[in-house]
């Protein structure tokens, strides 16, 4: 068989890796800035440490593997991993949480599999899960908002002491996240009607004026960023819509059955990292299925696991676990959900040619 260069027209693909990464970084920027404003200097320090750790590990691994360092380092993928990881961390976590997390995400989550595009799990979520399992105390220190430049916010030096000195700020007001509170108090046989009033308003939760990870608190900013990416066609609607709809349906159904035991869909949709996870984490093109149907299954699985872990699991929040679990299922989904090959049946046999389209067979010697 001879191969000829094909003639025009060619399909043009302007989307390069750096461009996609840049768009996602831009979309996640509002939530990041809001998190920094909400939690002050320590949050900025943690973000910088995490990103720096990711870039250093990436450069070291690329060097070790003998790849070109500059093009891969500057493609933005390690930067994005660092930002997403930092957004999932408690904002006042000590610096070594960010450093260990960055190492775990890049070296164990990405580079041991062969670098960009080869990883099985979402690197940022893998690192978050490893940190949560290993350092439960540091990873569940949630603060009430301490906005930048407000009277009780730490100054620059205090911020450095919190991040790098390991000095706990005694003035800081910490408290459980709303999901954590629901879990604890339900465990003490109280009912939601007694738990939620005074601690939860849908409006503040949506705006993000509440405790939580650095970038997860403002669901509206995450939602807008995600919708903008959708509009720019960085990803399709299948994964986020399937994920959010599954949580909505599960939470809505069980809430209707027993409103005192199961929190309303609004609580589930507007709390924790669900929005951030649905738009920025689960849509990772490397670790999610390639077909539309596969992406719907993947998103629905993520949503179901989030709800199951939040409601019956051992942790109050389960977005990272859910995404990592479904990442592991992605090869299986891709194996069973395959697109039909053009001109063939679903089973791979040739489809019958209609009478009007039949032509005499082309001789093998005709093409040179």
């Amino acid at each position: 068989m001879s191969m000829f260069p094909t003639s025009a027209p060619h399909a043009h693909a302007p989307d390069s890796v750096p461009r996609i990464m840049g768009l996602v970084l831009l979309a996640v920027a509002p939530a990041t800035l809001y998190g920094i404003i909400l939690f002050g200097w320590p949050a900025l320090n943690l973000l910088l440490v995490t990103v720096l750790a990711c870039l250093l590990c990436e450069a070291a691994c690329l060097r070790l593997a003998g790849h070109a360092v500059r093009p891969f380092l500057l493609d933005g993928s390690a930067l994005l991993t660092g930002v997403l990881l930092a957004l999932s961390l408690p904002p006042w976590a000590p610096w070594w949480i960010g450093a260990v997390g960055g190492f775990f995400a890049i070296v164990i989550g990405k580079q041991v599999f062969g670098g960009i595009g080869q990883n099985i799990f979402n690197p940022a979520m893998l690192a978050r899960v490893a940190l949560l399992v290993s350092f439960p105390v540091e990873m569940t220190l949630w603060l009430e908002p301490h906005p930048l430049f407000s009277s009780h916010a730490p100054g620059v030096l205090e911020g450095l002491a919190i991040t790098f000195g390991g000095i706990p700020n005694i003035d800081a007001v910490s408290g459980a996240t709303i999901l954590g509170r629901i879990r604890t108090e339900l465990g003490m046989a109280r009912e939601l009607g007694q738990i939620l009033p005074g601690h939860y308003q849908a409006g503040t939760a949506a705006l993000g004026w509440t405790g939580g990870s650095l970038g997860e608190t403002s669901d509206l900013l995450a939602l807008f960023g995600g919708l903008w990416l959708l509009w720019r066609r960085v990803f399709t609607w299948h994964v986020p819509v399937a994920m959010l709809a599954t949580v909505l349906v599960l939470a809505g159904g069980l809430h209707l059955l027993n409103p005192e035991r199961f929190a309303s869909p609004a609580v589930h949709l507007l709390s924790g990292g669900l929005m951030l996870g649905a738009f920025f984490i689960a849509t990772d093109p490397v670790t999610s299925p390639t077909t539309k149907l596969g992406q719907l299954i993947f998103g629905a699985g993520c949503g179901a696991f989030v709800y199951i872990i939040r409601t019956w699991g051992g942790y109050p929040e389960g977005v990272a676990f859910a995404v990592v679990l479904m990442n592991a299922a992605t090869p299986l989904i891709d194996h069973y959900v395959r697109p039909r090959i053009y001109g063939r049946t679903w089973r791979g046999r040739s489809r019958p040619v209609p009478e009007h389209a039949k032509r005499p067979p082309v001789g093998s010697g005709e093409a040179e």
Binding site: S134, P136, V137
Partner: protein, 232 residues
């Protein structure tokens, strides 16, 4: 003849190491290597069983018919493991409390049956004894290395509880590297074992490649390129 034994030793300790090259016996490897001391204890127990089983099987290799060899090997190994189990329970009771569950499981340790089938059933007694010893020591070294790495990362100590295994005279081995270390729990859980094993495997292969390159660079004038640093 002397060369042969050296080759057997090099095989067991490095070239055909149970853990790092054969990748056998991973179940106890993951389960007990949370400290270097546990690794040492488990490794020595396995070495004892390997040595004894290789000697016994090599000495009755002509009596065992080909068809029933596997059940006979298993029975012999099981008897030896039971002896080791009772001996450790009697004389190293504190260690037995830590390793207790895994000592009887040496019987299903694939490396023991593997050496019986591959080596002891075909070789004379002395060679089999050397092979069992070398394989066991290689495995012990691997367990200790893995246990040491996981212990340092996971709890910032080294050879914790060594006096339980080796007697009070060895209490000086017990080191605490970082006081008030909060612990890196993942390293003490099985995933940490797999991660450390993976990195050690990568390190071993990288080191071997470097040695080969160096030997090749040096051996350009010479005719023969040496394979392993142990046979130089």
């Amino acid at each position: 003849m002397n060369e042969d034994y050296r080759g057997i030793l090099a095989d067991g300790l490095w070239r055909n190491n149970v853990a790092f090259v054969q990748i056998l016996a991973l179940c106890p490897l993951m389960a007990v290597t949370t400290t270097a001391t546990n690794g040492l204890g488990m490794g020595l127990a396995t070495t004892g069983v390997l040595l004894a089983s290789n000697v016994v099987i090599a000495s009755c290799r002509d009596l065992i018919s080909q068809e029933v060899r596997i059940p006979v090997f298993v029975l012999l190994i099981a008897a030896l493991v039971s002896l080791a189990d009772m001996a450790i329970n009697a004389w190293l009771h504190e260690l037995y409390k830590v390793l207790g569950l895994f000592i009887p499981l040496i019987v299903v340790n694939c490396s023991v049956l593997g050496r019986a089938e591959v080596f002891a059933s075909k070789q004379p007694v002395l060679a089999s004894a050397v092979d069992g010893l070398a394989m066991g020591l290689g495995y012990t070294a691997a367990l200790m290395l893995l246990g040491g790495c996981r212990e340092i990362l996971g709890s910032a100590t080294l050879f914790a509880h060594a006096s339980l295994l080796l007697g009070d005279g060895f209490a000086f081995l017990e080191t605490t590297l970082i006081p008030e270390y909060k612990g890196f729990l993942l390293m003490l859980l099985p995933p940490g074992g797999f991660l450390v094993l993976g990195f050690l495997l990568a390190g071993k292969r990288a080191a071997e490649r470097r040695w080969e390159q160096r030997a090749a660079g040096r051996g350009k004038a010479a005719t023969e390129v040496q394979q392993s640093p142990f046979t130089v």
